[in-house]
Symmetry: C2
Subunit: 147 residues, 2 copies
């Protein structure tokens, strides 16, 4: 259901790259951290902590702790797609912003520049600096609109 944008340029090309970043941040490479990182590299959409935990046989709380650590050091971030658990992903060279269909759950990821017109309009009218990285634009997708 999640559609990635065309230009998918990650700043961490591979696991070794991410591991180096971890090390530079003074963090240890524990087994579960490596497993979670590997899984994130192997996954191409936002994943829940639960999905990671069960898929890897790592304790859920450890996964949350890992993700939080990675997030604190800029390797990972998460998005809240409607109700349900947060979805985590590697931080790439560019962030993505999201559009979410409340009806069917379809998630569309877009590159931030594509939303600049929208963002500018909002800034102009209300002075708010909008970001759709942590909380998406919520609405109805084309398919659901046509029922």
């Amino acid at each position: 259901m999640t559609v990635a944008p065309d230009a998918k340029r990650l700043s961490f090309e591979d696991l070794d790259d991410a591991v180096r970043a971890l090390r530079e941040a003074g963090l240890r490479l524990s087994t579960s951290r490596r497993l979670v990182l590997e899984a994130l590299f192997r996954t191409d959409g936002p994943v829940s902590a639960e999905q990671l935990a069960t898929g890897l046989g790592v304790e859920l709380s450890a996964v949350y702790r890992n993700l939080e650590t990675f997030e604190r050091h800029g390797l990972v971030r998460h998005v809240h797609l409607g109700h349900g658990p947060g979805r985590y992903m590697l931080v790439g060279g560019g962030e993505h912003e999201y559009l979410y269909c409340e009806r069917c759950g379809a998630t569309r990821a877009v590159d931030p520049p594509q939303l600049d017109a929208v963002r500018d309009r909002i800034a102009e009218q209300f002075g708010y600096q909008a970001r759709f990285t942590h909380f998406p634009i919520v609405g109805t997708c084309p398919a659901c609109r046509d029922n």
Copy 2:
């Protein structure tokens, strides 16, 4: 609970009006329902179920059940402002859409037409029909942006 697109649009000036709407929906006017309705009329912004419950001495679960009932019948709706509990409000005359500051929690309610330009832009570019009633536009408010 997601607001159904075919939910009836109700408009009521005061408690009696709302009570009439309740009755017409075939619902009973129990003590806790009356108390919750009264509290909603006397409250200006979106309130959490917890705030209602403690302020009224009504069981939290009953408040949730009341709110859900009201929502099912189009008297009430709720918005998710960042993390934290859902915030409930009367549907009353017209809907509002929200802008939320992730930094300070500031919430700005706007009349839907004010967001039509933004909405149109999003529809044009992505085909999504955006609504900021259930989930707000999230970002940084003017005050926080100027630090």
